[in-house]
Amino acid sequence: MPTPVIEVDHLRKAYGGTVAVDDVSLHVMPGEIFGILGRNGAGKTTTVEIVGGLRTPDAGEVRVLGLDPRHDARRLHERVGLQLQESELPGRLTVREALDLYASFYADPADPATLLADLGLTDRADTQYQKLSGGQKQRLSVALALVGNPEVAILDELTTGLDPHARRETWSVVEAVRARGVTIVLVTHLMEEAERLCDRIAIVDAGRVVATGTPAELAARASAEQVLRFRPSAPLPDGLLDGLPTVTSVTAADGAVEVRGADDVVQDVLVALHGLGVRARALRLEQGSLEDAFVSLTGRSSTDDTAAPLDTSRTSSRTSKSRRA
């Protein structure tokens, strides 16, 4: 088994009385895209800031590429690229100037022109930062995190504030970066993003890692219960489905029925319906998703008010706000 690129053990960090990171442990393997998934305020950013040597932990062990971020920050920054939230550039700096400037900070930088081409910014090279679109700013930000030829890139909330098109564009950039052999730590509150990009995910809630695994593994944990939705072709007698041993709950509304239950519930329900000569129309079987895993692990639904970051309407309102700005 290869050595982890990042080893975090029992990390803890509090600001005054507020505990930002309670107990976080993670191991990131070389070449993978590792997701840190959680709501805003779950402690994700603090965790990666400590990993990146920008903050000192109160307790716990951190090794990144064998270095201690506290004492070797400068050597670490030669080898680890960090893209932070809400880090801008001077408005009148052009894309090319930004890359040339940041390249000069590193002993062995990447070629800025190649990087511009890779990130689709060549035709924006002489554009000032203030005139770039949100997606272009994010791509430039990724380019700056990569200009030092890092072995590890930490990308924090890469697509926050981007419209769906720019978001998809940025995702393909991340995949292209991984194809260059860079290990990526992706911090996100977006299910879809984590599911689409990450090889493994750590779900963080209230400063703790509640689960780690591949998206499929995590989803499988939550799918012990299956959900079945259909419209019966004729009204069902009361108690028909409730009586089945594998069924845990039945809800009916507007002629639609939702049945939850264990492993063989699908077959049992269909057999019972068949026995009455009733058909299950518009049948949908809900497979366990990462979202389900998240909800069952953190104990809160994604539409919960306190779970604003997972709520799609909030995300899109933030998108339009930042586009206006």
Partner: protein, 271 residues
């Protein structure tokens, strides 16, 4: 032989040092470009002092009259010559209180300092680059004002040039110390710009931009003497006209620099 060895030994720790020096050089050049790309900055910091001096010198009827007909020393100088140390103080105030702190606070607000702290180059280098660029701008502005002043409106040279230069250097140190206090703590560009504007206009007042200090009430003169640019204006004037040694003014400026710079360094917020 031993000299060669020392140099070689000093250079060996090598690549990080040289990439640091390269980074700082590049950063300074880039900050310089950004400085002149902002037209407002470029005008007020580089051109305005020279423009003010020449326009006043050409248009104002008092410009060629004696600075003070009743004073045996001052009546040998034209009024526009008397205004020259004031214009130099204004040039110092412009960079120390407006462009420099506003840029640093804007960099803090927009996360530019934070982004720099993710690179091998320490974010303090951007402070070094900014101070360098603003000092460069000040030197250009002061030289331009003096050259145009002397050639176009006949500003007379100083009696004690070394004292004037020394007072100017102390003026720069004390004003940048005060400006650095703003740059150190202002959370946003607009905050720094507001605080800076207040310091700027107070400085102009105490330096005598609107009304020469000798014409102001004694109480105002006493207060002016304790401010960096009030002291700067009076100390440079004393050197210019060969008046008694401006010990108090030089001391005031030195204290501002010696207290302000370390204090700003301690309070500086890097994110």
């Amino acid at each position: 032989m031993s000299a060669t060895t020392t140099t070689a030994a000093a250079r060996t720790p090598g690549t990080t040092t040289s990439s640091g020096a390269r980074g700082l050089r590049r950063l300074t050049v880039t900050e310089g470009r950004l400085f002149v790309r902002d037209r407002g900055n470029a005008f007020f910091a580089l051109v305005f002092p020279a423009l003010l001096l020449t326009v006043l010198g050409l248009l104002m009827p008092w410009a060629d009259e004696p600075y003070d007909a009743k004073d045996p020393v001052l009546r040998q100088f034209t009024a526009i010559t008397g205004y020259t140390p004031i214009v130099l103080a204004l040039a110092v105030a412009t960079v120390a209180f407006t462009t420099y702190p506003t840029t640093m606070a804007t960099y803090r607000q927009r996360g530019i300092l934070r982004r720099l702290s993710t690179t091998p180059l320490p974010p303090s280098r951007v402070l070094v680059a900014q101070v360098g660029v603003n000092l460069g701008a000040l030197l250009v502005a002061a030289t331009l004002a003096l050259v145009l002043g002397v050639t176009v409106v006949g500003v007379q040279g100083p009696e004690q040039p070394l004292l004037v230069v020394g007072a100017f250097v102390l003026a720069v140190l004390s004003a940048f110390a005060a400006g650095s206090l703003i740059a150190a703590v202002a959370p946003t560009g607009p905050t720094a710009s507001g605080l800076g504007a207040m310091a700027y206009f107070l400085s102009l007042f105490f330096a005598g931009v609107w009304l020469p200090l000798p014409l102001m009430p004694d109480a105002v003169q006493d207060i002016a003497q304790l401010t960096p640019l009030g002291a700067a204006s009076q100390a440079m004037a004393a050197g210019w006209f060969g008046q008694p040694f401006p010990g108090v003014e030089l001391l005031v400026m030195a204290v501002w620099a010696l207290v302000g710079i370390p204090l700003a360094a301690r309070m500086f917020r890097w994110s």
